[in-house]
C-alpha cells in the first residue's frame, strides 16, 4: 500500500503498523469469508467503542463506529456482536488485545479504532483488524486523515478495508449514487436529479424539478453525470458537471435522444435517438462531437451499455417482435440475442467484472431484476414485484441497486439493493422516493 497522492482532502496514510503488527506469516489460514451462492452463516465481528484520543472526538468516534458496523452488517455477510455482549472494551488503541475476551463472545473478527481531532478541522481515524482465533492482526493498521465533514467517508474507508481483507474482494462502501428524486402525485410527478452516499446519507439535489429528468448515469471517474431532460421541450441527453453543476445538452443527434451512457474511457457517449418514430443507437464522441449511428433496423433499439473492455455493447431491441437483450460490437454490426426466456427483457447493464448482464424482466404482469451470463446461460431472477426496474452495479459487481414502485393511485418508487446471489434485499430508506439509480465506482 502506498501513500495516496490524490487531490482529495481525505487520504490514506499507510503503514501505520507498529512492531509486531505486520502480517503474520505463522497465521495458519487467514480469516476469510467466501461469498458463494449457498446460504452462508454471517461472520461474527465486534467493534468496541473507538477510542476518542481528543475530548472533542468523542461524539464522532461513536458515529464512525456505527457507520462501520452498519456497512458491514448491511452486506449480509457479517454479524455484529453488540456492545452489551462484549466483555471488555479498548481504552488505549496501542494496548495489547485480550483475545480471550473476544473469543469468549465468539467474535471472529475484531475491529479497533481511534479518533482524534486536530486544529483546522482535521480528523484522524486509525483502525486495526484482528483475527481473534489466530490472535493476530489481519493486515496493517491504517490511518486516515480528512476533515471532520468527511467523517462518514472515513468510516466507509475503514469498512471497505475490512470487507476487502475478509472477503478477498474489493468493496463498495465509499461510493455515491445519483438518482431521480420523486415527489408529487402519480399523474403530475416532479422529478429532480439527486446524489447521495451509497447508504442514503448526504443527500443533495442536483437540479430543480421544473423539467422531467430521467436515468442519470455516472461518468467512469464519477465527476460527471449523463441524463435525459425535457428542459428544451422534448427529451434530450444532457451532461452535468458535478463540481460546477453546469449542464449542457448533447445536441449532436436529431430528434429526441435518451438513454445516454458513458464508454469505459469516458470519451464517448452511447445513447438512443428517435427519428420519425424509429429509435436507434448512436455513439457521440465528446471531443469531436461526431455522431456515429450503430443500428439501423426499423425496430426499437435502446438502453445501450458498454462492456468493461469497451469492445461490445449490450442493448435492448424488439426486432424479434418483443423486447429482448442483444450484444453487438462497439462499432455496430451484427448482434446476437442474449435473452431467450419467457417474457420481455430490458435495461441491460454490463457488470464491472464483465461476466454478467443485469436486466429488468417483465413476465405475466410481474417485474424482476435478474442477471444472465454473457453466453446466455444461468439466467437468475433476484427479485419479483409489481414493478422492479433499472438495476445498477455496485463497484465490485456483488450488489445491484434498482427501484421498486408500488402499485395503485398512491404508488411511488423507492430504491432497493439486492446481492447477485438474490439474498439481502433491502430498501435504501434514507433516499426517500426515488428511481433510476446509478452507482459510482469506488472513490479514491
Amino acid at each position: 500500500m502506498t501513500v495516496s497522492q490524490k487531490a482529495f482532502s481525505l487520504f490514506l496514510a499507510a503503514f501505520f503498523g507498529l512492531a509486531g503488527f505486520h502480517v503474520s506469516a505463522q497465521t495458519p489460514g487467514p480469516l476469510k469469508i467466501e461469498i458463494t451462492e449457498g446460504v452462508i452463516e454471517p461472520m461474527p465481528f465486534a467493534v468496541p467503542a473507538f477510542v476518542a484520543e481528543t475530548v472533542s472526538a468523542k461524539d464522532l468516534s461513536e458515529d464512525l463506529a456505527a457507520v462501520v458496523i452498519a456497512d458491514l452488517v448491511g452486506t449480509g455477510l457479517f454479524r455484529d456482536i453488540p456492545r452489551n455482549a462484549q466483555i471488555s472494551g479498548i481504552s488505549n488503541f496501542d494496548s495489547p488485545i485480550q483475545f480471550s475476551d473476544w473469543k469468549a463472545v465468539n467474535a471472529q473478527a475484531l475491529i479497533t479504532g481511534a479518533v482524534s481531532t486536530q486544529s483546522g478541522g482535521q480528523l484522524v481515524v486509525k483502525f486495526r483488524l484482528f483475527d481473534v482465533f489466530a490472535q493476530a492482526p489481519l493486515g496493517e493498521g491504517l490511518r486516515f486523515v480528512g476533515t471532520t465533514q468527511d467523517w462518514r467517508r472515513m468510516a466507509h474507508k475503514v469498512a471497505d478495508a475490512v470487507y476487502a481483507r475478509l472477503t478477498g474482494e474489493s468493496a463498495y462502501f465509499d461510493s455515491k449514487v445519483v438518482f431521480v428524486s420523486e415527489s408529487g402525485p402519480k399523474n403530475a410527478r416532479n422529478k429532480r436529479l439527486a446524489i447521495m452516499d451509497y447508504d442514503g446519507a448526504n443527500l443533495q439535489n442536483l437540479t430543480d424539478d421544473r423539467s422531467i429528468v430521467l436515468a442519470p448515469r455516472f461518468s467512469p471517474d464519477a465527476t460527471k453525470v449523463l441524463y435525459t431532460s425535457y428542459e428544451t421541450g422534448s427529451p434530450r441527453a444532457f451532461l452535468l458537471d458535478l463540481s460546477t453543476l453546469k449542464r449542457k445538452a448533447l445536441a449532436e443527434l436529431p430528434g429526441m435522444s435518451f438513454a445516454p451512457r458513458f464508454s469505459p474511457d469516458g470519451q464517448n457517449v452511447v445513447m438512443s435517438a428517435s427519428l420519425s418514430g424509429n429509435t436507434d443507437i448512436y455513439m457521440v464522441n465528446l471531443q469531436s462531437l461526431q455522431a456515429t449511428r450503430l443500428t439501423t433496423a426499423p425496430s426499437i433499439e435502446t438502453a445501450p451499455s458498454f462492456s468493461p473492455d469497451s469492445q461490445q455493447i449490450v442493448f435492448e431491441s424488439d426486432r424479434s417482435g418483443n423486447q429482448q437483450i442483444y450484444v453487438m460490437p462497439a462499432s455496430g454490426g451484427e448482434a446476437r440475442r442474449l435473452s431467450f426466456g419467457e417474457g420481455r427483457y430490458g435495461t441491460p447493464v454490463w457488470s464491472p467484472r464483465g461476466d454478467l448482464v443485469a436486466f429488468t424482466k417483465i413476465n405475466q404482469g410481474r417485474f424482476h431484476i435478474g442477471v444472465i451470463r454473457l453466453d446466455g446461460s444461468e439466467e437468475r431472477l433476484l427479485t419479483s414485484s409489481f414493478l422492479d426496474e433499472g438495476p445498477t452495479w455496485s463497484p465490485n459487481g456483488r450488489v445491484l441497486m434498482f427501484f421498486r414502485e408500488t402499485p395503485g393511485a398512491n404508488g411511488a418508487p423507492s430504491l432497493y439493493s439486492v446481492d447477485i446471489t438474490g439474498r439481502n434485499l433491502k430498501k435504501v430508506s434514507a433516499a426517500g422516493n426515488g428511481s433510476d439509480p446509478s452507482w459510482s465506482r469506488l472513490r479514491e
Binding site: N187, P235, M256, S274
Partner: protein, 163 residues
C-alpha cells in the same frame, strides 16, 4: 359525414378529454354534454371536446384501430378547416414497461398518428411529435382500466404554432 360520426365517438371519449388538464383528482369527472356546444368550432377546446384529441392503443402496439382512424379523420378535417393551428402529438405508454423502452414506444405511437394525419392531407410542417413514455399518466390506478387510457397519443393543437 365524418364529423357527425366523430361527434358521437367524441362523446364517448369526452370524459377522458376532461381529464387532460392534469388535475390531481382527474379520472372521475362528470360529463357536461352541453358544455362542448359552447366552444367556438375553431377553438382548441372544441377540438378536445368535440373532435376528440386522443387515440388509444393496445399493449405494446402502435397500430391504429378503426376507432382511432375515425378520430384522426376528424382531426384531419378540423386541421384542414383551421389552418392557423399547428399540432404537437404526444405519445404515451402505460406503466407496465421499462422507462426507456416506453419512451421509444411513445415515439412510435406519436409517429403513427403523425403519419396518418399526413396521409389525410395535413401538411407535414404543421405536425410535430414528442414522447412522454410512462412519465405522464392521466389515470393512476394500476389496472387495465387505467392502463388502457394511458396508452394514448394526444394531439395538442396550438394557434401560436407548437414547435
Amino acid at each position: 359525414m365524418r364529423i357527425s360520426l366523430a361527434l358521437i365517438l367524441a362523446a364517448s371519449v369526452f370524459a377522458l378529454a376532461a381529464c387532460n388538464s392534469q388535475l390531481p383528482n382527474s379520472g372521475s369527472d362528470t360529463v357536461d354534454l352541453n358544455k362542448s356546444g359552447n366552444f367556438a368550432q375553431n377553438s382548441p377546446e372544441f377540438f378536445v371536446a368535440s373532435v376528440g384529441d386522443r387515440v388509444l392503443f393496445t399493449v405494446d402496439q402502435s397500430t391504429l384501430n378503426d376507432e382511432a382512424r375515425s378520430i384522426l379523420d376528424a382531426q384531419a378535417t378540423w386541421l384542414a378547416q383551421n389552418v392557423e393551428f399547428k399540432a404537437l402529438i404526444e405519445g404515451h405508454a402505460d406503466e407496465q414497461g421499462t422507462r426507456e423502452y416506453n419512451l421509444a414506444l411513445g415515439a412510435r405511437r406519436a409517429s403513427a398518428v403523425q403519419a396518418y394525419l399526413v396521409s389525410r392531407g395535413v401538411a407535414d410542417n404543421r405536425l410535430s411529435t414528442i414522447t412522454y413514455g410512462k412519465e405522464r399518466p392521466i389515470e393512476i390506478c394500476s389496472t387495465e382500466a387505467c392502463w388502457s387510457q394511458n396508452r394514448r397519443a394526444v394531439t395538442v393543437v396550438n394557434a401560436g404554432g407548437t414547435s
